[in-house]
Symmetry: C2
Subunit: 401 residues, 2 copies
């Protein structure tokens, strides 16, 4: 009995963050400081924000200056190299498990788009349709269909086609990419992946085989049509921090097979409407705002489901003000309301009780509706021909211009 209690206690105390599960300890929220310690990455402090601003001669993205991207690995090496006049390339991706993306899914792409524009560098985007086929038990065909649908949402984020290669694993695995997969797999024991990813003996071997697939886009030689003769090109990976385990493994292997370790810049999770205990979930439609939601949907979801820090009566609210620490509308505005002055004003007034929850929710609804409408218009303009063009295996002769 004692042993079982110990185990339950430990489970309650521990947050779980891996590529398939993000959950805070009971009733709490994700402790990002602990995560940084546990994963062994670095905090991205203000000096980085200032340096990026100086190097790119443009204002840092709101996600950078407000700490949405809050952790990194060797981002300083990327900036050092860039300052010496060396270029790098960006690598990000998505597991296409659902037709409609939610706002949390857009965050790495919005940020990657900024990085591409600011640093003027090429970008590879991996759609892990093989992963979703294996983890979600989708058919090959359905995984590929979702990959193409998701590609349209990604393209709608505004990537530069002359600098961007999007690929699906089912289409692209082979050749130099497969050779690198084998090189990586040779360097990682089964015990090691169990330690990193928590696989069990009853998991199928597709799961055990997958980590090298997500690892090798970190190596320029996986893309001979893009980076032939550029084996020393550095790679920077913007992603949510739950993907860190893949790249810890990749960074461990890289020098043993003659490549640079990829650098990482990692984001917080975008919280669920119901509160910040994890990231948004595609399986609970009321936990998230989708890019397919109508203005009416958004209004309803924000009004009905957003967890707030407002007080239970107007009188108490006027007296004590809102608890901004737990307030989801404030957190969402922190991601998407670009005007720093307006955000500060709202936080001050709402925190002091002079602004009511309904007013904040109304402003959030406007901001999200505008964002979603803008995305929808952009996505509607993405044709199948454009998807084919982004996904064509081709050289990108102007990718460093």
């Amino acid at each position: 009995m004692e042993k079982i209690e110990d185990k339950n206690q430990q489970q309650e105390e521990e947050q779980v963050v891996n590529p398939w599960e993000v959950s805070a300890k009971e009733g709490g929220k994700i402790d990002y400081d602990k995560l940084i310690d546990k994963f062994g990455c670095q905090r991205l402090d203000q000096s980085f924000v200032d340096r990026v601003q100086r190097l790119t001669s443009r204002p840092p993205h709101v996600f950078l200056r407000r700490g949405v991207f809050f952790a990194h690995r060797d981002f300083n090496d990327i900036l050092d190299a860039y300052e010496r006049g060396e270029k790098f390339y960006l690598y990000t991706g998505r597991g296409p498990s659902s037709e409609a993306l939610h706002l949390g899914h857009l965050i790495p792409f919005m940020f990657t788009k900024y990085l591409q524009d600011a640093f003027k560098v090429p970008l590879v985007i991996q759609l892990t349709d093989d992963e979703k086929c294996m983890w979600k038990n989708l058919s090959v065909e359905e995984s590929q269909r979702l990959a193409r649908e998701n590609a349209k949402d990604i393209i709608a984020c505004g990537f530069d086609i002359s600098k961007t290669f999007i690929f699906s694993d089912f289409d692209y695995v082979g050749g130099a990419f497969y050779k690198n997969m084998v090189k990586v797999a040779k360097c990682v024991t089964y015990n090691k992946v169990v330690g990193i990813f928590g696989f069990t003996g009853e998991d199928h071997i597709g799961k055990v085989s997958f980590p090298p697939v997500q690892a090798v886009p970190s190596f320029p030689s996986s893309f001979p049509h893009l980076f032939s003769g550029k084996d020393n090109l550095r790679c920077l990976i913007p992603c949510a921090i739950d993907q860190d385990p893949y790249f810890r493994m990749t960074r461990d292997v890289a020098p043993r097979i003659g490549y640079h370790k990829p650098a990482l810049i990692e984001s917080l999770f975008f919280p669920a409407l119901q509160g910040e205990t994890g990231k948004m979930s595609a399986s609970d439609p009321n936990s998230a705002i989708y890019v397919t939601d109508s203005a009416k949907d958004i209004k309803l979801k924000v009004n009905k489901h957003a967890f707030t820090g407002g007080q239970e009566s107007i009188e108490k609210h006027r007296q004590y003000g809102a608890n901004l620490e737990v307030d989801i509308p404030i957190k969402y505005l922190n991601f998407f309301l670009e005007d720093d002055a307006e955000l500060e004003h709202i936080k001050k007034e709402y925190g002091a009780g002079r602004m009511l929850t309904g007013e904040v929710k109304k402003r959030l609804t406007e901001v999200l509706t505008e964002l979603v409408e803008r995305h929808r218009r952009a996505r509607a303009a993405v044709t199948d021909v454009m998807v084919d063009a982004f996904m064509a295996v081709r050289p990108l002769p102007n990718m460093f211009d």
Copy 2:
């Protein structure tokens, strides 16, 4: 202590046969009946030999009529289908771990060449350079070089280029082939591959990932340029019985992903010169006759290293005769001396002590020298252009003619 003794005793008693190790129990030889029981395959009896002769209207290959290919799985289904007028395709392969092949390596190819000619069917030959890169710790480049060198030896066996596609995994994995790998991997747990192949936690994940690579050439959809629209085409795999574990796994998975189970026809191991306790080893040059050995090498190896059942003195030999059961020259002649009458004569005379070991060795040297010389001449005529032609990803419009 008792437990340890038990384990030692068990190890002594058990023969080990898997794709990477073949060893009889201490001092004994491989017990093929036990192997058939353990693996769950069927013995290939005389009725099959007769049936093949009748269906193909040609004498059965010496390897068939002398029981070198001695076991099968569902070979009857292949013959039933063939009798109904349905075609099938052949799949065999090689792990290119060494530059020079020995005679044991040639056996499946010699037999497959006979099957291709007799049944007039297409053939795919897999060179698992990825496997050897992972198991033997060769570089990608060296594995690929060995694959091409081995392809020359394989082509020298006389395959029909209009019916034969040779591929290396490093070149060919991708597309439909990769999709089938993922489908297979989804159906096999880690515990399952541990049970089949004996992997441990300290083995690298490349090993765990490999079985689907060897599985999927069993499915026609892995070769869209050959078998598009022929998903129901049956597959027959001629191989040595140590490869059975791969195809037990494949057969288990096949119906779950909508394919026929591949049929198998499986051979004995070709014994080492030193005696029949295992198969020839590429790592001990004196255990095997290589296709690169000179007539002088062959004579020396046969005379010096071949284990015989002759008696220790001529007097005793004349009196007791040779023990044919353990005699390697007789075993080798059983594989390669095609004249049944001459073989019977030698066995009778040698067994009765009227023929001496030296005489049998001399005849074996002649037979092997002729075989090796013929192979060497054929291989010398194989150009790089021919290798490219056999390995070109192409349709084979006349493959069923």
